[in-house]
Symmetry: C2
Subunit: 221 residues, 2 copies
């Protein structure tokens, strides 16, 4: 037997105000900010590279790579030719609205259509901090397991879209996609779900078509 | 091209004091506390189940399962018959020394030899918070990628031992073990490294033998 013991609660009011301001300002500029989240190694950068490939002729894209350290991802993104900035969070496990606003100021986003924030690899903290994005996309990779919605419910609750990445390894990791979808539906009935393999370019078109529609809707508002 | 922009720095003094007190008290009681860390889905619970199997006849074991939500892991551990408590962190992305001390008080550890804290799945925050453990063990799973030491250096710097889990999937994920070890060695030349497959019970004996020696040394102090 075991007990359940609650140890801590967070309240994060100021960030929400700041995030609303960021979103309003982006709305005026018609810049669509995407907050891309997921565990370390879920495949955020690979998904981003595919997204850039699919959308770069239609939209002017900028990328903010948030990491605790290194510039591994920014180097990969820079090779595509899109504008990119590496943000080091100084140990912080997530980006907040103020850090995002400062990153965008530094990068100059006024002439961009789509800005993607690749958040720090983490299923917990980034979910708690609204950065002012138009949409939140999260990636769950198959090797992480189908029970993750139970353990990290907030991430699955606040996101608009979930990519189930490395879907080609479903059998190897005994990943039950139906069960995973069921857990997610209970938390978030409106979640858009796309099973993909970013590495093998499977399922990506369905996702980038969805994203394209979201950008259209955002600009039409 | 891209710029590097530092956005935030953390200072965490009080926790270190608290952690030193926890460690001292555990030393007096001859209780070995292990802080087990890793990303969501790295295999912490599966490793823990193997550890219990290997060491339960020799040591009296207790487990603290820290999660943002759910009791999925505690249920699995409870089935082994060892004492277990589920700690819900109320949204927090890590355990700190105070939370750990309160968990141990709640569980009553005085008659135990080995207490394992399964930390929240996260490569960032748990690395920043000393919980007062005798040793820190981290798990990197192969699907996360061999570049993780570059992106989450603190975790690889502060840990005493690293398990490279799901090693049987190295080819599928193009994981370069030598490169990964090289990155880790630069951060932490003393790191003990064990390639394992917890699921298939490969390499676990080398790790549990090491752990057994650490417990002996701790009790002999």
């Amino acid at each position: 037997m075991y007990e359940i013991y609650e140890t801590k609660v967070n309240v994060l009011r100021d960030n929400d105000e700041e995030a609303a301001k960021v979103r309003e300002s982006l709305q005026e500029k018609k810049v669509f900010l995407l907050n891309l989240m997921g565990s370390p190694g879920a495949g955020k950068t690979t998904v981003l590279l595919r997204m850039i490939e699919a959308l770069k002729d239609k939209y002017k894209i900028g990328v903010m790579e948030a990491d605790v350290d290194s510039a591994v991802d920014a180097e990969k993104i820079a090779a595509t030719g899109v504008r990119v900035i590496q943000l080091h969070t100084g140990g912080s496990c997530h980006m907040d609205a103020d850090m995002t606003a400062r990153g965008m100021e530094k990068m100059n986003i006024d002439d961009l259509d789509l800005v993607v924030l690749e958040n720090v690899g983490n299923l917990v903290c980034p979910a708690e901090f609204d950065v002012g994005a138009a949409k939140k996309v999260m990636i769950l990779s198959v090797p992480e397991g189908d029970d993750k919605p139970l353990k990290y419910p907030l991430m699955f609750t606040v996101s608009d879209c979930m990519l189930i990445n490395k879907i080609d390894t479903k059998e190897i990791f005994d990943f039950d996609e139906d069960r995973c979808r069921e857990y997610v539906r209970k938390l978030n009935p409106d979640m858009e779900i796309f099973p993909i393999s970013a590495l093998h370019d499977e399922g990506m078109k369905e996702f980038t078509d969805w994203l394209d529609r979201q950008i259209c809707l955002w600009r039409a508002q």
